[in-house]
Symmetry: C2
Subunit: 316 residues, 2 copies
């Protein structure tokens, strides 16, 4: 079958991959559409040493005809971490298209059956590929009490920053989105203040919560300049490798820094299906899987919107 | 009067300092005894650019004869931060012997009257100088729910590490103290497991809470190797300057990192007065203020116990 294979240095479309077979508790799905995210671009450059098929934001179709997507952490559901209610952190886990498990940029993908979620018919495939990143944005609402009393800044006007801003706004929080690109800041929409990164000094240390969605080593220092004493910084993006940083403001100002990764699919699916969160303005170019290499080049362009690939003929 | 003056490069005892006068809402106290802490040693090397009299762990005597100590953050009590209930973080604050306010390594010290706390008669001066650092250890109990279900590791067997271990133990938490010095680990006492730093790999990622009391750039990376996914790292010590660190485990394992600085005096005073926490094993050499420079050398020795200076003749 076809698949976008990562060898740790680059990606290329192969057509000689074995079709995966379902193991116990697993299903195989025909992939309809799959998105390219920043993690994919990092994996392609060697992040985490992944070797295999990329892709973890997808819509597939089961043999029954069900249109589905899947959570990406494949847990053992037997270890102490799983039994403590944290299967997303299972030390034995594989992660779809990221860690020891082939992903969905292929004709067929193999996933645990318990990870499946139905995709409502109201959702187009190109919207449904946002379920996984939107779930990651909803993770913040599991970790923090957001609401009208909360002043929240989102650093980074990329796709994840916008998704986080929209999720936070729905809680009633007073949200400021801070970024570099006027065209992207303009997507924030009603009820969200927007600021260019250069203006942040004037904002002062006024925010109860600052979410770093920059993917940049400058994100955390910027967040520490915006958060109030005893406030919270949410790290939504990883920065690969070590970098130099002064952590003393965390102690002096008693800031709480919380890492935030994968989140719950059901609220993301509901918000998309009802169009309470409308991701269509975030969609950029669409490619056929056969043009995967061009799709990756498009996704890597500065300021690119979400690039997605159509896989099966059913993908529409 | 006499005072230990910091010029940002070194400290020296001066005898030509003006006796401070109380401003509005302030009192002047005759200092009885004062401790030297690691922050003083850092300030002496230029940390925070402080110029003035050092000393923030002290016992004084008011004109009335009352034996007292004082909280160290001198807030304005008028700004938004103060009115939000966070006077220790007042942006207009001075800090005794640390930030724009002369400290207590002198014959006389000036402090806000509202910062005073009585020192119970059961407490000797040499114990009472631990009120401020013990309050800092109690800060953790304001920030986190500790109790019998919590497995907690304390990194660093210095004075602050031991104080934090004792405070945590009183909550019922299962405490492990991790350090380098068998003689200091032996002070932990009943109900606290002790481990040499070299053994920590074998401990695994087993702790719900890890408090970094090392004052070292290696503290946070070590803590991130010990804390369980979704667990909490408490940063009790600052590390001056920038250093290189890989923060991606915070995101991947969704760790919460909390800065922790000054804490509540009343529980510290009560725990010392009842000897539920007995700090006497932590007391090292005692000097007269006239021998301040020798006292600083003693405090700077590796593994030194608490060095204190007697100031007034009443200090006993």
């Amino acid at each position: 079958m076809r698949g976008v294979y990562c060898d740790g240095r680059s990606v290329r479309l192969r057509d000689d991959l074995a079709v995966p077979e379902a193991g116990e508790g697993e299903v195989v799905l025909d992939v309809r559409a799959v998105g390219i995210c920043d993690t994919d671009l990092q994996l392609a450059r060697g992040y985490m040493g992944f070797r295999g098929v990329l892709g973890h934001e997808f819509v597939g179709q089961a043999a029954s005809g069900r249109r589905v997507t899947a959570e990406i952490n494949n847990a053992c559901h037997r270890c102490a971490t799983c039994l403590a209610g944290r299967p997303r952190h299972c030390p034995n886990r594989t992660v779809l298209g990221i860690l020891r498990h082939d992903g969905a940029m292929a004709d067929v993908v193999r996933v645990p059956e318990r990870n499946l979620h139905d995709v409502p018919s109201a959702l187009e495939d190109r919207e449904a590929i946002f379920i996984e990143p939107l779930a990651a944005a909803f993770r913040i609402t599991e970790q923090l009490e957001l609401g009208p009393d909360v002043r929240m800044a989102i650093l980074g006007d990329g796709k994840l920053g916008l998704l986080c801003a929209w999720v936070a706004r729905r809680t009633g929080a007073r949200v400021s989105l801070i970024g570099k690109y006027p065209a992207k800041l303009a997507l924030a929409g009603e009820g969200i203040a927007t600021h260019h990164l250069d203006e942040t000094q004037a904002l002062g240390r006024a925010f109860d919560v600052v979410a770093d969605c920059t993917g940049s080593p400058t994100g955390l220092p910027s967040a520490l300049r915006l958060v109030r004493p005893c406030g919270t910084v949410v790290l939504k993006t990883t920065v690969a490798g070590t970098y130099a940083i002064d952590l003393s403001p965390i102690v002096i100002d008693e800031v709480r820094v919380i890492g935030s990764r994968c989140g719950p699919f059901p609220p993301a699916i509901a918000a998309l299906a009802s169009r309470q969160i409308d991701v269509r303005p975030l969609i950029g170019a669409e490619f056929d899987l056969d043009d995967a290499e061009a799709a990756f080049r498009a996704a890597a362009e500065r300021g690119a919107r979400k690039v997605l690939m159509r896989v099966s003929r059913e993908g529409s």
